[in-house]
Symmetry: C2
Subunit: 132 residues, 2 copies
Amino acid sequence: MTKATILLAHGSSDANWLAPFETLTAQIQAGLNGENLMLGYMELAEPTLETCVRRLATEGVKDIDVLPLFFAAGRHLRKDVPQMIDELIQELSTNGHTINIRLSAPVGLEPEVANAIASIVTRKVKHHDSQQ
Amino acid sequence: MTKATILLAHGSSDANWLAPFETLTAQIQAGLNGENLMLGYMELAEPTLETCVRRLATEGVKDIDVLPLFFAAGRHLRKDVPQMIDELIQELSTNGHTINIRLSAPVGLEPEVANAIASIVTRKVKHHDSQQ
């Protein structure tokens, strides 16, 4: 396979924070037909984005889509991650791997996620206000 | 009104990160019947959770539900925010305000959000793999 997708989460030193991302990734993988999907972290947990990209490059992957599991794009997705990606592309190129890496918009900006959150919040607000 | 809900986001010094949370809150407020809903940040942006709670207390609110717009509960939601809430309750009690504050589970753990993300990711992975 020459294509792969990396789900990028922020990362945390707390395993309780990581667990839902691992569960979600496994849930998504179960619905795929063998497409190459990995979960990587920007910082504080393994595998990092760098670890994922280096592993995929040695497996012959040429084209990686990075999908951030973030609510919004702040400094991390606008500066830190693009810089990490540029450095990885250069490093891999020096080692003979030509690789394309595309950073997508964060999933939190997709209307489906915003609508799901809006519906949950609305339900909870109305429930909270109706309680004695 | 004696009840209110605070949507709690992490916060950022980057206005690009804050904007989608403000849009989402406005979208939710538009669908409510005047229930008291505020957006507050844990850090790095105003209004902070503390600012929201103090303002609501002076308005006579007695019962606040804090709904974290987080994907998962790590150190912030398991330690930092509960401690902020305990300190606020004590501070307000000293000033004559008896207030209940409940910290809910993060919205990211709700199946509707996980399912929305899974569906977006599956669509993007299949699209990426089908491209030349």
